[in-house]
Symmetry: C2
Amino acid sequence: MNAPTSLGKRAATRELILDHAYALARREGLEGLSIGALAQDVGMSKSGVFAHFGSREELQLAVLQAGQQRFLEQVKFPALLLPRGLARLRAIVGAWIDWIRAYPSGCVLLAGASEYDGREGPLHDKVAQQQAGWRRELVRTIGHAVENGELRQEAEPARIAFEIHALMLGLHHDAALFGFDEAQGHVRTAFERLLSSYRPEGGQEGTP
Amino acid sequence: MNAPTSLGKRAATRELILDHAYALARREGLEGLSIGALAQDVGMSKSGVFAHFGSREELQLAVLQAGQQRFLEQVKFPALLLPRGLARLRAIVGAWIDWIRAYPSGCVLLAGASEYDGREGPLHDKVAQQQAGWRRELVRTIGHAVENGELRQEAEPARIAFEIHALMLGLHHDAALFGFDEAQGHVRTAFERLLSSYRPEGGQEGTP
C-alpha cells in the first residue's frame, strides 16, 4: 500500500535535487554543475544524487528541460490567452523582458546554448532543439500578425524573429553588465521601431 | 650577454602558452581552462606553466587581454584607416561579422562576459571594462556619423550602438547553432534598415 507514497517521495526528492541543480547551473553554468557540490547543497550523498540522475549528463539535460518548462510557463503560456498575432507577440516580448529582469546574469538556457553550441553530443542536440523550437514559435506568431494584416505582407517572419531574439540577447548582456533599466528602454524602443517599419500603410493594430 | 636572449626566449614561451590557452578557452570557456590540460597541451609541466602565469586567474586575465588585442587588431584598427563616421562604422561592422564567421562558437570575450557577468572579482571587472570600452568606441563612431550629418541629429548613439551589438550577439548565437549564412543576411539587412531609419531626409552618405 505504500508504493504510491514512496513513488511520490521519490519524485519530490528528484524535484528538490533539480531545483538546487537549476540554481547552481544559473550561477556556474551547466559545465560548472558538479555532483559533489550539488550533493552537499542538498544535504545528500553523491550516490544519493546518482540514484536519481544516473550521470552528470542526465542531470544537465534535466536542468535544461526544467529551464525550458519554466521559460514556457512564464513567457509563452500567458500569451496564449491573447489573440494570435501582434497582441500575442507583444505579450511574449513583455514577459520575456520580465524573465530577463528576474535572471539577468543566469539564464540556464542561454548559458547552455553558449556552452554547447560548438560541441557534439546530447547536450548540444538539446540546446539546438530548444533554440530552434523557440525560434519556430516566434516565427509562427509573427506569421499570424502578417496573416492578420497587422504587419505588411512582405514582412519576413524569420528575419523579424531573428531581430527580436537578438534584442533579447542584447538585453541579457547589458542587464548583467551595465544594469537592466537603460537596456530595457533600448529594447522596447527598438522593438516598436521594428514593428512600425513593417506596419501596413494606414493600418491599425488588430485590424484584419 | 645572453640575458636579452633568455628574456626573448622567456617571452616567446609565454606567448606559446598563451596561444594554447586562448585556443583551449575558445573551446571550453575561461572557466574550463585547466592548468593541467594546458600544460599537457603545450608539453610542459604544470610548474613550468605556473612559472609564467602565477595563478589560473592571472592566466585567464591574460587570455582575455589577448582576445581583446586580437579583436581590436581585426575589427577596430583597419577601420581607423577610413574617415570618421558612417564609413568607419560600416568597416567596423563588416570586420566584426568576419570575426564572428571565423569563430562562431568560440569568442573568448563574449564567453567571458557570459561567464563572469554575475560574479565578483578581477575577471568580472575585466570583462565589464572590455565590454564598456568597446561600447564607448561604437558610440563615439556613431556620434561622428551624427556630427557629419550622415545620421539625423536626434539619432541616439547609445541606442544605435546597443542595437548593433545585439545584432552581433544574435549572429554569434545563430551562426554557432544554425549556420552562419542565413544569420549574416539577417544582420546585414537589419543594420542597413537601422541606418536608413536614422538617415536625414534627402541626405546622402558622406555628405556633411
